[in-house]
């Protein structure tokens, strides 16, 4: 007989693993990717592939030659950072800028903190914000959606629906006059608008979100509280003056909100652990998004809102503990 293994209980473990979770997230991104490849064509594919490959490359270089530790580029986390980074930059962004964004995401936001699970800020969002500050011109030119374009240069660009409304209102125009300038809501929902590679179709992202909910990769708290608080805040403002403040549905289906609420804010590493913590965090994200979108300098506030709330996560984890068993005695 073999020697017997002795180890502490339990002796059975779930089938779930880090890479299964990561590839689950990746799988759920397929609908959003297909929509973006349809509307932005070859350029979107190139940006996505470049981001994924360079994220894996930089993680490999850092782990192998700087840290001299185990190389974990196939655990799926670098692939997701790459894919998500690509999804939040314009498809027309020069590829060398995508490479720089990847270096910042992996090198600065992830590996300096100690790699997977240790980072405070969402790596993809850090990469995007770095690019936005460094290359404001290229990061604010969004290609117009066509279908199956193979063009890589001289792409026609224009402002996003959010930017159209924000600038119009700033110049004293009425919302009702501005809305005809952007595509109809059904069209927006499908993703037929200017925007970053993967953020355009709220419907496709929602589909991925439902898959992740069913697979229990994410829970409902963060997306629901985030989207809910955006709807409520935007709704209050809209009721105050619908000609200055655009309606909540518009906020919901434009810009990066859906992608942010379902993929960025729910990033396990950088979001709170307890249910109430998640809800508070989601509300914080929603509040900041609306404040930046309506009162800030940028038309879009999702990236900043989530990054700011990321910084509050350790505090939220301290303040919002799960309900302990037997904490308050309720008998009956």
């Amino acid at each position: 007989m073999n020697l017997l293994t002795v180890s502490g209980s339990p002796h059975v473990y779930t089938e779930e693993s880090v890479s299964k979770i990561m590839y689950g997230v990746l799988f759920s991104l397929i609908p959003a990717a297909l929509v973006s490849f349809y509307f932005f064509g070859l350029a979107a594919i190139m940006v996505t592939l470049t981001a994924i490959v360079s994220c894996m490359f930089f993680e490999f270089i850092i782990q192998k030659y700087l840290i001299k530790g185990p190389v974990t580029i196939f655990d799926g986390s670098a692939v997701i950072t790459g894919a998500l980074l690509a999804f939040i930059v314009p498809a027309s962004l020069p590829l060398w800028m995508v490479v720089i964004g990847s270096l910042v995401s992996i090198g600065m936001a992830k590996m300096t903190f100690g790699g997977l699970g240790k980072n405070i800020f969402n790596p993809a969002l850090v990469g995007r914000v770095f690019l936005m500050i460094s290359f404001p011109v290229e990061m604010n030119m969004y290609p117009k959606p066509t279908s199956f374009s193979t063009q890589l240069t001289d792409i026609i660009t224009g402002p996003t629906p959010l930017a159209v409304v924000k600038e119009g209102v700033a110049q004293g125009e009425k919302v009702s006059d501005l809305l005809p300038e952007v595509p109809e809501y059904v069209s927006l929902l499908m993703g037929n608008m200017g925007g970053s590679v993967g953020e355009i179709s709220a419907l496709a992202i929602l589909l991925g979100g439902i898959y992740m909910l069913i697979r229990k990769i994410i829970t409902w708290e963060i997306p629901a509280s985030y989207l809910g608080s955006v709807m409520i805040l935007a709704g209050i403002l809209w009721m105050i003056d619908p000609e200055v403040y655009v309606d909540p549905l518009f906020h919901l289906i434009t810009g990066g909100l859906m992608l942010g609420a379902i993929y960025m804010a729910t990033d396990m590493v950088t979001s709170p652990m307890s249910r109430w913590g998640m809800i508070v965090y989601g509300i914080g994200c929603g509040f900041l998004t609306i404040v930046i979108r309506i009162f800030g300098a940028y038309p879009e506030g999702v990236a900043f809102a989530i990054l700011i709330m990321n910084a509050f996560v350790p505090l939220i984890n301290r303040g919002f503990k799960p309900k302990r068993f037997g904490e308050e005695v309720k008998n009956g």
């Binding site: 180890s7 209980s9 503990k321 904490e327």
Partner: protein
């Protein structure tokens, strides 16, 4: 259908031996009866080398308040009283008896006749249960008579009978509920009388519909006893979880069930109480499940206390070639054995054999802060945090974060996608924090 609210997991049930009727295991050549088979102070031997003993004879006396008597499970000659490796893996004192025939102590009723009338008074019941060495048979082995004595100033209003058997693989309680239901029900009545309560609830998970049906048919004859099917969820057999599921009361942190008017006993214990009170029979044998995917005939045996575990495995078709781990108990809370010659004790509910391929843990990765451990913890703790605090020796913080509430159910380590040794680190934290608290209170 009822269940507890906070946390919980669903490991694969794998109840392979659920339809195997209880068989009597042949007597071994020698039995090894440890002096510490219960929670509390070990018993003191009252026999010496060379003495001849009968089955059911007292061989070691539990003299402290929390201790239990130990009786010989066989007739024969005491070979030695020596240190042996028991199921905990440590060397502990035990009485080794060479088996000669099967002669029982006088006054023990070995017939199968059901005795329904309870003639003993509550005080007599408690002292009988004490005398006969009955301990909690669900695995914790807390001396039962202590639980039947309600402390001054407290009252019990409901007796809860644990027939949950939430551990995967194990079926000994299931079979007992099917085959010894009436004895068990009388045992419950005896405990109700001792505690002076008029209500008892048997909690059974609904993966045992045959046991639920069987009990439902019998209970009309036993006033005050009800059966409650429960939704399957681990660790429902935990005392605090079961109370929450059945009567929706929460035992406060650091307190015992009596605080909320409940006393919890296992179905196996109830059967043992019946035998002690109605048949004058001490706790010298118990039902043990022998199971595992490679086991030829997953079985349930009645084995005498002290029988080498190897004998049980042999009776279930022998040890499979590729066995890599033998577990005393279920896969969630059982202990891995280093030696299969360790004896069956009062707390041995099952022997589980795992093939080599299933023995190792998952590779350990960084914590990805997914929060699953916190969301499934049935005590509402944060295992990821406790594990980090414990490994940094921050035991003051461990205490504030309620490490002492951990019931060591293993759900956190089970669920962790990164394969982190959460419970291992929490156990260290619990140990050290407990030491710290005891020092402070001295």
């Amino acid at each position: 259908m009822k269940t507890f609210k906070l946390g919980g997991v669903h490991p694969p049930e794998n109840k392979l031996s659920q339809s195997a009727a209880i068989e009597v295991l042949p007597l071994p050549e020698t039995v090894t009866i440890p002096l510490s088979q219960h929670l509390g102070v070990p018993a003191n031997p009252v026999v010496k080398k060379g003495d001849s003993v009968k089955a059911g004879q007292l061989i070691a006396k539990g003299e402290a308040f929390i201790s239990a008597n130990i009786h010989s499970s066989v007739s024969g000659t005491v070979q030695k009283i020596d240190d042996v490796v028991d199921t905990s893996g440590y060397r502990k004192k035990a009485i080794v008896i060479k088996v000669e025939g099967d002669i029982w102590e006088d006054g023990i009723d070995l017939s199968k006749d059901l005795v329904k009338d309870i003639s003993l008074s509550p005080q007599e019941i408690v002292s009988r249960v004490n005398e006969k060495g009955i301990v909690g048979m669900g695995g914790a082995t807390f001396p039962s008579h202590v639980k039947l004595m309600v402390p001054q100033g407290k009252t019990a209003d409901v007796l809860i009978i644990n027939g949950v058997e939430c551990e995967p693989y194990l079926t000994s309680d299931h079979r007992l509920m099917l085959e010894k239901a009436e004895e068990m029900l009388v045992g419950i009545q005896i405990q109700m009388k001792a505690l002076n309560v008029d209500r008892a609830i048997i909690g059974v998970e609904n993966n045992k519909p045959d046991a639920i049906d069987h009990l439902m048919k019998l209970i009309p004859e036993y006033p005050g006893i009800s059966v409650e099917p429960l939704k399957v969820k681990y660790p429902q057999g935990g005392e605090k979880q079961l109370i929450k599921a059945l009567v929706n009361r929460e035992v406060p942190s650091g307190k015992l069930p009596i605080e909320v008017g409940c006393v919890v006993h296992n179905v196996g214990t109830s059967f043992a109480v019946y035998e002690a009170v109605q048949k004058n029979k001490p706790l010298v044998e118990r039902v043990v499940t022998v199971t595992g995917k490679g086991v030829k005939e997953p079985s349930n045996f009645v084995a005498r206390i002290g029988t080498p575990i190897a004998n049980l495995i042999e009776a279930a078709g022998g040890i499979p070639e590729n066995t890599g781990k033998v577990i005393n108990g279920g896969p969630m809370m059982g202990k891995a054995l280093s030696d299969i010659n360790a004896p069956v004790t009062k707390g041995t509910s099952g022997i589980l054999l795992f093939p080599q391929a299933e023995t190792s843990r998952k590779p350990v990765h960084n914590c990805i802060r997914c929060g699953r451990c916190a969301s499934i913890c049935p005590m509402g703790l944060e295992p990821y945090l406790l594990a980090v605090l414990a490994s940094h020796k921050r035991f003051d913080d461990c205490e504030t974060e309620k490490v002492m509430d951990c019931i060591e159910c293993g759900s956190c380590l089970y669920i962790c996608p990164s394969g982190r040794p959460l419970l291992d680190q929490i156990r260290v934290g619990k140990n050290e924090t407990g030491k710290m608290i005891r020092l402070r209170n001295r």
